[in-house]
C-alpha cells in the first residue's frame, strides 16, 4: 500500500482558503481542495488554469449546425432534388431554423461531455475516497489534499504545517 497524500479537514470555507494559501506559500504545488460548493478563491490559490472548454462548446455548436445544414443541402440538391414550379432547390431561409436548433444541441452535448471528460468522470474509484473523513454526508466539510508526490512533501513536517494552519484532522490517504 503506497501513500497517496495527506487529507486535512476544515470546518468552514474560510479556514480552507487560509490553509490552501498557507501551503501554497510554503511551496507546495501538488494539492487539491474539495468543497461541497464551488469556491472562487481557490482558483487563484491553486493556480487552476483557465479552462478551454468554451472553445469546445463553440466547436460543438458549429459542428452540429454545419452537419445538419450539410445534410439538408445534400438532401435537396443532390439526393432528392424536386423542382416545384421552378423555385430554387437551395432555399436557405427555412433551413436556418433546424440549423440553429442543431447548433444548440451540438454545443450542449460538447459542453456536457466535455466537462465530464476533462474532469475524468465518470470514474469508478479515486484515492480520496479511501480517506475515512472524506464524506459529504453531513454537508459542509472542506478538505485540502497534499499529494505525497509533491517535492516538498515530508510526512511529519507537512502534517504539522496543516495542523498549525487550522486543520481539524489530518489523515493519511492510501493510493
Amino acid at each position: 500500500m503506497s501513500l497517496y497524500g495527506l487529507m486535512a479537514v476544515f470546518a468552514d470555507p474560510e479556514a480552507l482558503v487560509v490553509a490552501a494559501r498557507g501551503m501554497r506559500e510554503r511551496g507546495y504545488r501538488r494539492m487539491d481542495a474539495f468543497s461541497p460548493f464551488p469556491m472562487k478563491e481557490l482558483d487563484a490559490i491553486l493556480e487552476i488554469p483557465k479552462t478551454r472548454l468554451p472553445w469546445i462548446v463553440l466547436a460543438g455548436g458549429i459542428a452540429g449546425a454545419a452537419l445538419v445544414y450539410g445534410l439538408i443541402w445534400y438532401s435537396v440538391e443532390v439526393d432528392y432534388p424536386i423542382n416545384v414550379g421552378g423555385r430554387p432547390l437551395h432555399s436557405w431561409p427555412p433551413f436556418v431554423v433546424i440549423t440553429f436548433e442543431a447548433g444548440i444541441l451540438g454545443a450542449a452535448f460538447a459542453g456536457f461531455l466535455g466537462v465530464l471528460a476533462a474532469n475524468g468522470l465518470p470514474r469508478y474509484h479515486h484515492p480520496v475516497f479511501n480517506a475515512e473523513s472524506f464524506s459529504y454526508a453531513r454537508g459542509g466539510k472542506f478538505y485540502l489534499l497534499i499529494e505525497a508526490a509533491d517535492p516538498r512533501y515530508r510526512k511529519g513536517v507537512t502534517k504539522g504545517q496543516l495542523t498549525r494552519l487550522g486543520a481539524k484532522a489530518v489523515e493519511e490517504v492510501e493510493a
Binding site: 468552514d12 438532401s75 465530464l116 454537508g139 459542509g140
Partner: protein, 452 residues
Amino acid sequence: MAEARANNPAVMRGRHDFPEISGRIGSIVLDGRLPRHFWTAFFLCFLLVLLLLYSITYLIAVGVAAYGIDIPVAWGTMISNFVWWIGIGHAGTLISAVLLLLRQPWRASINRFAEAMTLFAVAMAGLFPILHLGRPWFFYWLLPLPNVHMHWPQWRSPLVWDFAAIATYATVSLLFWYMGLLPDLAVLRDRARSRPAQLFYGILGLGWRGSAYHWSRYQVVYFLLAALATPLVVSVHSIVSLDFTFAITPGYHSTIFPPYFVAGALLSGFAMVLTIAIPLRWAFSVEDLITVRHMENAAKLMIAAGMVVAYGYVSEAFFAWYSGEPYERAMMAQRALGPYAPLFWTMLGLNCGVLQLLWFKGIRRNMPLLFAIAVAINIGMWIERYVIVVTGPSRDYLPSAWGEQSLTWLDFGILFGSIGTFFALVFLFIRILPAITIFEVEELAEEQGKLK
C-alpha cells in the same frame, strides 16, 4: 436600502448550518418517510395515469375522430394540449437558466424542481403531436432516417422544425438538469446507508468528488449551458407558434404570434411553478428555504408576462380589423360573439381580469389566494390555446364550410390523464431525487452569512 430590506421578505429565513441543510433535503429522499397525504395524492394521480393509458389505447384503436375534431376544425385539443404543456415547461428553463445568468440568488432553492417541471411538461407535450397524427406509429417519418420510401422530411415545414425544436429542448433540458444534480447526487451517495441506495446514487453521481479543479470547469460549462438554453427556450415557443402562422387561416396568420406565444408560455409556466411550489413548501415544511419572496417574485413575473399576453390579445384584434380583410374581421367577431364566445370571455376574465389581483402585495403574499389565482391562470391559458386552435379553422374563407367541433370525454380523458401523469412524475421525482438544490442552498447560506 434598510427600508427596502424590511419591505422585502428574505430569500432565506432563519439561520442554518450545513449538516442541517443537507440533512433536511436529503432525508426527504433517503428516509422515505413521506406523509400519508403524499401517497394519497400520488394514488389519485396514478388513477389518472391509468385513465391516460386507457384513453390513448382507445384513441389509437378507434382513430382521431373519437375525440372532438371534425372538418373544418381538424386541429383540436391535441394541439392545444401540446402548446399548453410546452409553455408550462418554459418557466422552468427561465428560472434555472435566465435567473442564473442574471445572478438572482432567489432561484437557488426552486431551480431544481422548476427544471424537473420542464422535463416532465416537455415529456407530456411530446405525446400530443404524435397522438394527433392519426397513425402515430409513423411519427418517425419526421426524422431524416434512411427508409424504404427513399424520401426526406420537408425541411421547409414548421411541423418538421417543431419536431427538431422539441427534441432539442428536451435533450438540452435533460443535460442541464443532470449536470446540476451531480454534486447533490454525491451528497446522497455519502448519506445513503442501504446498499441499493448507495449503488443507485453512486452510479448516478458518476464519482463526483467536489475537487476545486472540477468545480472551476463545472461552473464555466454550467453557465454556458444556461446561456445556450436561453435563446433555445425563446426559439422553441416561437417555432411552435410558426405551426400556426405559416397557415393562411384567419386567426392563425399573424406576425404577433411568436412573442405572444413566448409570453403566454411564461405566464402559464409561472402559474404552474406556483401551483406546485405552494403545496410543496407547505407539505415538506421548507417555508424557510422556499420563502414568500420566491412566491412573490414568481407572481410579479406572472403579471409582467400576463400584460404582454394582454397586449397580444389587443394586437390580434386590432390587426384583424386593420387588415381590412373581411374574413379576418369575421373570424375575430365570431371568436368574441360566436359559438366559442363563452370560452373566449372566460379566457379574458381569467388571464386579463383575475391576473390584475396580483398587483396587490397583500394578495401576492397570501398563499391560499395566490394558489387559487395560479390555478385559475392555468385554466385560462389552456382555454386560450384551445380558442386559438379552434376558432380560426371554424370560420375559414368559405362560409358554406363553417363549422364547429365538440369536446368529447376522450378530450378530457387525455387532458386530465396527462395532468395526472405529470404530477405522478413530479411525486416520483420528489421521492427519488433532491427537489431542492443542496449545494446552491449551502452556497447561498454561506454568502448571505446565514450560517450558525
